[in-house]
Structure formats: structure tokens, C-alpha cells
Symmetry: C2
Subunit: 320 residues, 2 copies
């Protein structure tokens, strides 16, 4: 197994990642949005080719593999969006990809990942340690682990969104409100937008980054953590790398409920005409619920749009 | 009543409209889409502030009013998207707007139009002549009629999308597939993209433009025309102005069924993460159904995203 996390991600790395990403992906739109009478912005990462920002970090990681590493392939662990980012990048670079996904990942994410040419290995979310499954695959067949959040290239790649935002705004945003699973995006944004406040938003009971920042140490999800509709935001624990970058730099974490997330999905449907999956709507949910401040240079990340059709229909139909 | 259609729209007018629109609205994204193995493009006009391209023509018409005309206000007739375009532009320019809307217009469109500050006057779609209702309002209180499609400025304004597309592609599109109600957008695109084939797409039974082009004369909707879910694409007849611009210039019209439109809405949901209303999905429906050719420089217009939540939920949930 090749050890990926041997260096700290840097702001220079984020800028380099942004240049690389700009070479293959057009900027996603920064759209005006009115919240509580204030004109702010949403960054529509839902319009990336794979429907989420995860394409950024995966691309930056895979395009930095050596020739030897490319030949050996990659292994990733993901509930679905990182999976598609790795699969998309791997196909484009001609690299073999194996993705370890939870057995209860949304069907749309499983289907999309396979359609992008990756090999999917399922694991039981509650019974198995997904990192151990990945480590086993690498011990057996070789390859580089592309961690979903605890990897310096992945963090830099996700942070490229901040460079894009500043270019689109013509200045630094005052604050960026971002959904937070393991803390890859928020850590990258913190590096990429040094003048902005960064607000991590997590589902109730799954605020492993918010709790870790408050305690100053890693905190594991409780065995009886509540269910959440935010399938993309359920890490068992963040990593020391992410905690180190966020502690003392990011704003305190806030949490959102399933109902707040659904209300945000309905708002995105009606006011923005964007399909947003639950985890992708968490930041918007916090803004709409008044849990984070919103001013004119606030940017709210809409991070994923791979919504399960039946669940989405139930959420949208409930507003009628 | 000030007679608006006293001149022919021109390509120069379209270019001027594009410059004016660019001053107030960022370009809508041109997103890659794969249809039948071919990489083409969708123009996401659903991401305009009012959720449709109609903001272009309304803005260009209203910003060309004289001071005297501005003081007298405007009257428009619309099933909902032109209404919002006129209301948005009128508010921005400080002009009073009265909009004549069918009693069965989607609630979301009625609500949005009123929220934008316009006064809404309802008429019975089947029993009353909407143009007569508007003419009566103007005879009574004055003001300029802003026709939804049979107006030279409106046509030029809608055509501004073609200038934006060419700038984004870096060349002329080979063809533009566009939904068609009265023929304002298609006429504008024909002027704005002289090197492109323009394909009007209409709902079955409501192809008043396609039939008029085929016959060389205006054709009225049959009294027993079938129902369509494309509420935005139900004109009773096109205008001589539109027919004159499209005849011998546009490709023959094609028609799409409700089922084809629903399939396109589901495709936009899953593959593009965009909310598209039925009428706004007509062009995509024609492309997906193989009713128009698709090549690498084909652009498919997604023209509107103001979907009724209950109807949209039923459509999306049906794919699960």
C-alpha cells in the first residue's frame, strides 16, 4: 500500500489544483439567491459532470499519480459521490478503479459509479470497517488508496472551488457555508479562501468534525447515532489531517435536521430550479434556518445532486 | 394603444439585445450532455433568475420603451414565464406591469408573477380571447402591449441566447433544438444564429408554428385540440411576423407527446440535476426520442424550470 498522506496540503497546492481543474471542467455557476432579504450566492457544484464537487479532489489526486501508480490502479471508499469522482477521473486517465461502497448506498450512486467503468465492492455499513475492506483489497491486489477526505491532494482539489468562487465574485467571499462529512471540502476551502469564514454544516448526530473541533481531538460517531437522510455525510470519524487544518481556523460547526434539509431541497427546487440531494442541501438548510449568518458576500455550497428519485419525489410533492 | 410591431426584428437588433442582456444577466451554463452516444450541449435557461429565457425578450422590450411609454406602464399576456419576465424587468425599470394570465396557469407561475410586483388579471383560457382582454385593459388605462412572441424586441431579446451560445462554444452551433409556443424564441434564434439549423419542437396538437410553416399561412389550434402538460406551449395561433421569419429558414417542426416530455424531465433530473418544467423539456424530449438529429455541435434549449411541485413529483417518482 502506497502511503498517500505523507505531506500537508498547502494553499499553493489548492491554486495548482484549481488550474488543473480549470483545464478540464468549466466553472460551475455562482447563482444569486435571496435569503431573509439578503442577496447571497450559491455555488452549484451539482452541475459538475458527476453531479458533485467530489470530481475536483479525485481528479487532482489521480492526475498526480506517478506512471507506476497509474498502472497499479486505485482503490477508494465512498458512499457514492467520491466514488463517481474517482471513477470519472480514472476512466479519463485510463486507470483501473475499485470502489468500496456501503450496501445501502443510493441505487443511483451505485449505478452511476458502475456506468463510469469502476468496479464496485459492497460492504455492510454497520458491521464492517470500510477502511479495512479497502486496505484488504490493496494488500491483495496493490494500488493507491484515494481516501475520500483524509488525503492532501483530495483536500487541495476540493479547495479549488474557493479559487473559482473568488474569480467569479471578483473578491474573496466573506464566508463559505459548506456541507461537511469527513471535512475534506471544508479543509480545502479553508486553505483556498484564507480571508473567508468557513462554516461546516453536518447532520444532527453526525457532526464528527464539529465535535472534534470543539474538543480538540477526534470523536467517533455513537453506535446509536440517529438516522439521517444525508447519506453523503456519515463518516464515523474525521482524520487528524482534517482536524489539524480546521481547528482554530473554521467557524464552529452547526447541525441540521432532516426536516431542515428537506425544506432546503424544496427551496432549491422552487427558487433555483436545481436538483439537490439531501447531503448537498445541508449548507443551504443551515442558511435558511438562520443557523449561520448570511451577508452579501456569503457563498453557500450546493455540493451534490445525485438524489434518489422516489425520495426526492416524496420531498418535493410534500410541498404541494 | 402603442403599436409595437411596426418594424422587422434584425440580426443587428439581436446582437444589441445580447449586449444589453449581458449587462444584467450572467450567461446561463452550456452543459455537456450525451444523447445516443453523441456529446451535445444543453443551454440551461432554467437557471435565469425567473427560471426561463423569457427574461431576455421582456428585458429588451422594456428597456427600449421611451420615457413616456415607461410612465404609462405595460400590459402583457402570458401563461406564466413571459409574465415573470415582464414583471422582473418592470420592477427593475420602475414600470407598472399588468399581466393577463389564464385562470388555469400553474399556481407557481401566478405566485411568482405577483411576488415580482405585477398586477395579475385572470381570463378563461377557453372562453375568452386573451389578446382582447389585454386590448381592453389598454383602451381603458393606456400602456404598451408586450406581446409574448409577436413583437420585434421580444424576438430579438430571445435571440440573444444564440449570441451567448456561439460565444460559449467558440463557433456557431450546427443546430439549435428549441421548444416552440408562438415562435418568439425560434424566430430570434434563427436571426441570432444564421449558420445553424433551428428545429422548433411543439406538443402534439399544438404545433401551430410547424403547421403554419408547412402550409405557408397561419393555422389556428383546433377547438378540440388534445390536452398537453406543456402549459407554456399552447398558443392559439402564431403571428405573421414569426411565420415570416421562420418560413423557409427553420427546419420543419416536430411534435412530442406528454410521455416523451416526462421522460425528458426524468433525464434532466438524473443526468443533469436540473429541474425542467414540461414545456421547457420539449426540445430535449425530441432529441431523446430521435425526432431531431443530434451531432457534436447541437445545442438543446432547456427553456423553463417553473414546474408545479405535485406534477413534478409524480413524474420523477414514476421513474423509481
Amino acid at each position: 500500500m502506497i502511503q498517500a498522506d505523507v505531506r500537508m496540503p498547502t494553499r499553493e497546492g489548492v491554486i495548482a489544483a484549481a488550474a488543473s481543474v480549470a483545464g478540464i471542467l468549466p466553472p460551475t455557476p455562482l447563482l444569486p439567491v435571496e435569503i431573509g432579504g439578503v442577496r447571497a450566492w450559491v455555488k452549484a457544484e451539482t452541475l459538475q459532470p458527476i453531479g458533485s464537487f467530489k470530481i475536483r479532489g479525485a481528479w487532482w489526486r489521480l492526475s498526480n499519480l506517478s506512471e507506476e501508480e497509474r498502472r497499479a490502479g486505485v482503490v477508494a471508499v465512498s458512499s457514492g459521490n467520491h466514488a463517481q469522482g474517482v471513477a470519472w477521473s480514472a476512466r479519463r486517465l485510463g486507470v483501473r478503479a475499485i470502489i468500496v461502497m456501503p450496501h445501502d448506498a443510493p441505487q443511483v450512486k451505485l449505478d452511476n459509479t458502475r456506468e463510469l467503468g469502476a468496479e464496485v465492492v459492497l460492504y455492510q455499513r454497520t458491521a464492517e470497517d470500510r477502511d479495512a475492506v479497502a486496505a484488504g483489497l490493496i494488500a491483495e491486489g496493490g494500488g493507491t488508496l484515494v481516501h475520500a477526505f483524509g488525503d492532501p491532494w483530495v483536500i487541495e482539489g476540493q479547495g479549488s472551488a474557493a479559487i473559482e468562487i473568488a474569480a467569479q465574485l471578483g473578491r474573496s467571499p466573506s464566508r463559505i457555508v459548506a456541507c461537511c462529512g469527513g471535512g475534506g471540502l471544508t479543509a480545502g476551502l479553508a486553505l483556498g479562501a484564507p480571508e473567508a469564514k468557513v462554516h461546516p454544516v453536518e447532520p444532527v448526530g453526525w457532526d464528527m468534525v464539529g465535535q472534534a473541533m470543539a474538543k480538540g481531538e477526534l470523536v467517533h460517531a455513537a453506535p446509536d447515532a440517529p438516522k439521517t437522510i444525508c447519506d453523503a455525510l456519515q463518516p464515523n470519524v474525521t482524520k487528524a489531517l482534517n482536524l489539524g487544518l480546521l481547528k482554530g481556523r473554521a467557524e464552529p460547526g452547526v447541525t441540521v435536521t432532516d426536516d431542515e434539509v428537506r425544506a432546503a431541497q424544496r427551496f432549491a427546487f422552487a427558487a433555483l430550479r436545481l436538483v439537490v440531494e439531501p447531503g448537498g442541501a445541508a449548507a443551504l438548510a443551515a442558511a435558511l434556518a438562520g443557523k449561520v449568518p448570511v451577508d452579501v458576500d456569503t457563498v453557500i455550497m450546493l455540493t451534490g445532486g445525485n438524489a434518489d428519485p422516489a425520495a426526492y419525489a416524496a420531498t418535493i410533492g410534500a410541498s404541494a
